[in-house]
């Protein structure tokens, strides 16, 4: 459906996107993940024809971005970051205007707009100027803008940034619902979001793609290790180390980094690393039981995407 080859973009001397290759098939939801300034927005802007690549090629179906940019724009619905709509227009007028520009026939326009209103929940704001809308509604109007001509590809740039938790869930649900039929590319720096919505995740850092895999595979890569968290009162690091030293399956014992609630002096917070294949929790518990310590917390965690993300975007 979309094939990106050696895509590169310079801003003067600064290389924002560096020889990116991507292959996106029909019906896929691809998440473009990366820290701020990694080149996500620049990549999406080139895909949608707002910026021209310095070199490299983009093909959407049989159209190339150099020659048939108009055709590509027709196939794509694009929602730029923070949904910059004309502030002085009424929502209805705006959608009507966009529908006209994107070639929705006059006779279908009203029903298309009605469909968008239902899907994006715009009932109450149709006759308000865009400038008066809240961030969440603006984003929804932006989504309606992108979807109004039923495009085959949907490109969303950080669609949930700046929204409250309820709105985030709503937008995500809409994306998922649309994603059943359409190809969607969206960028985000929120890991759980990518994990919850995407079929495939491409991690991009400093203009390069550092990982491009299905969400499941990427999580597995990160999940080769488990962390066991242990909080004890009345214990010290040395004696715990001595006690748990020979437990099979623990590769490292260390003090956990300071928690959000602040460290309390009488509590010892530990992080035990162990391979995903072993589960030494029973063994650990039986040993702690012999001591006169209070066990305050004891749980295991699989750090998945977050780990991978940090590893890839810091080391490179």
């Amino acid at each position: 459906m979309i094939r990106v080859e050696n895509l590169t973009r310079y801003y003067d001397d600064f290389c924002a996107v560096n020889r990116i290759n991507l292959d996106i098939s029909r019906g896929e939801i691809l998440g473009l993940l990366g820290p701020n300034g990694a080149g996500k927005t620049t990549t999406l802007r080139m895909l949608t024809g707002f910026l021209r690549p310095t070199s490299g090629s983009i093909r959407v179906k049989d159209f190339s971005v150099d020659k048939d940019i108009l055709e590509i724009k027709r196939l794509m619905g694009y929602l730029p970051e923070s949904a910059p709509l004309y502030p002085d227009m009424l929502v209805y007028d705006y959608l009507n205007y966009v529908a006209g520009l994107r070639g929705v026939a006059r006779s279908d326009r009203l029903s298309r707009i009605r469909g968008m209103v239902d899907m994006c929940g715009l009932d109450n704001v149709m006759h308000q100027p865009v400038a008066e809308l809240s961030k969440g509604y603006k984003q929804r109007v932006g989504l309606a803008h992108a979807l109004i001509n039923d495009p085959e590809v949907l490109v969303l740039d950080e669609p949930t940034s700046g929204l409250d938790p309820n709105q985030i869930v709503e937008i995500r649900d809409i994306i998922k619902q649309i994603g059943k039929e359409k190809t969607i590319i969206f960028s985000t720096h929120i890991l759980s979001e990518a994990e919850a919505t995407c079929d495939r995740i491409a991690i991009i850092d400093k203009g390069r793609i550092v990982a491009d895999e299905s969400t499941g595979a990427l999580k597995q890569q990160g999940g080769q290790e488990n962390y066991i968290h242990l909080t004890l009162a009345g214990a010290d690091l040395a004696s715990v180390k001595a006690l748990l030293n020979d437990v099979a399956g623990i590769t490292e014992i260390r003090e956990a980094p300071a928690g959000e609630n602040g460290d309390r002096p009488d509590e010892l917070r530990l992080q035990l690393r162990c391979p995903a294949t072993s589960d030494p929790r029973r063994d650990i518990y039986s040993r702690i039981r012999q001591k006169d310590w209070d066990l305050l917390a004891f749980y295991s965690e699989t750090p998945s995407l977050e780990n991978i993300f940090r590893k890839l975007t810091r080391e490179n």
Partner: protein, 234 residues
């Protein structure tokens, strides 16, 4: 409906949604009316010549106020990104914005028709020069709009867009009055560039192809410059 037409309609309506349009029209009518009628009875001449003579100077400041937002505002709100990723070309955007500004200027000129009518009551008004004058006024508005459009494409700051466009338009207008300072060798070139002589011909009711050519070439050059600026931004 073609994309150009849709964009034209949006731009044209946008003028009337914001109060700027009404303020600009009101100021224009006040200034034009005062200059025209305060001199009219002193002259005792049944014509609109004074009105048309003053028009280039008034337009030098009025038209940039109309065109300053065309691109600057879009850059500033970011809506330019939305616009450019819709299935439209830069050429269509430019033509839509230019024609919208010119149409707005034409609407702004309509109330001045009252001058012509009231003048016609006081004596025998020759309608030929009046009609020629209005054709010239719309052309002049188009030329200044094109210049304003180009300047607006350069910056996201509307104030800079206004000042720069006003300076260029005013410069083109005042060039006529500065010509006698200049050496003869470059005189004819600058005289051709100055807007005053071309407008004066049309305002007299003489629609000469050389003057039309001048107007259309300034429009074309400005639009092309704007086209280059917008392409470079990509």
């Amino acid at each position: 409906m073609s994309p150009t037409r849709s964009m034209f309609e949006r731009e044209f309506k946008a003028y009337f949604i914001s109060p700027i349009a009404y303020i600009v029209i009101a100021i224009f009518l006040m200034v034009a009316g005062w200059f025209f009628f305060s001199a009219y009875f002193l002259r005792g001449q049944v014509s609109l010549t004074t009105f048309f003579t003053l028009l280039p100077i008034m337009f030098s400041f009025i038209v940039p106020a109309i065109t300053m937002k065309l691109f600057s505002e879009e850059y500033n709100t970011g809506s330019y990104e939305m616009l450019l990723t819709l299935p439209v070309t830069i050429k269509q955007i430019l033509i839509a914005k230019l024609t919208a500004a010119a149409a707005f200027i034409a609407v702004m000129l309509v109330p001045t028709g009252v001058y012509a009518v009231s003048v016609a009551f006081t004596g025998d008004l020759e309608w030929g020069p009046v009609i020629g004058g209005y054709i010239g006024a719309v052309l002049l508005g188009g030329v200044f709009s094109a210049i304003g459009l180009f300047v607006s494409s350069l910056t996201r700051n509307q104030i800079i867009a206004f000042i720069l466009a006003a300076a260029i338009c005013f410069g083109l207008t005042m060039m006529d009055y500065a010509l006698f300072f200049l050496p003869e060798s470059i005189l004819s070139v600058l005289q051709y560039l100055a807007i005053g002589t071309h407008f004066a011909n049309i305002a007299k009711g003489v629609v000469d192809s050389r003057d039309l050519l001048y107007f259309f070439s300034v429009v074309f050059v400005s639009l092309y410059a704007a086209y280059l600026v917008l392409s470079e931004k990509q």
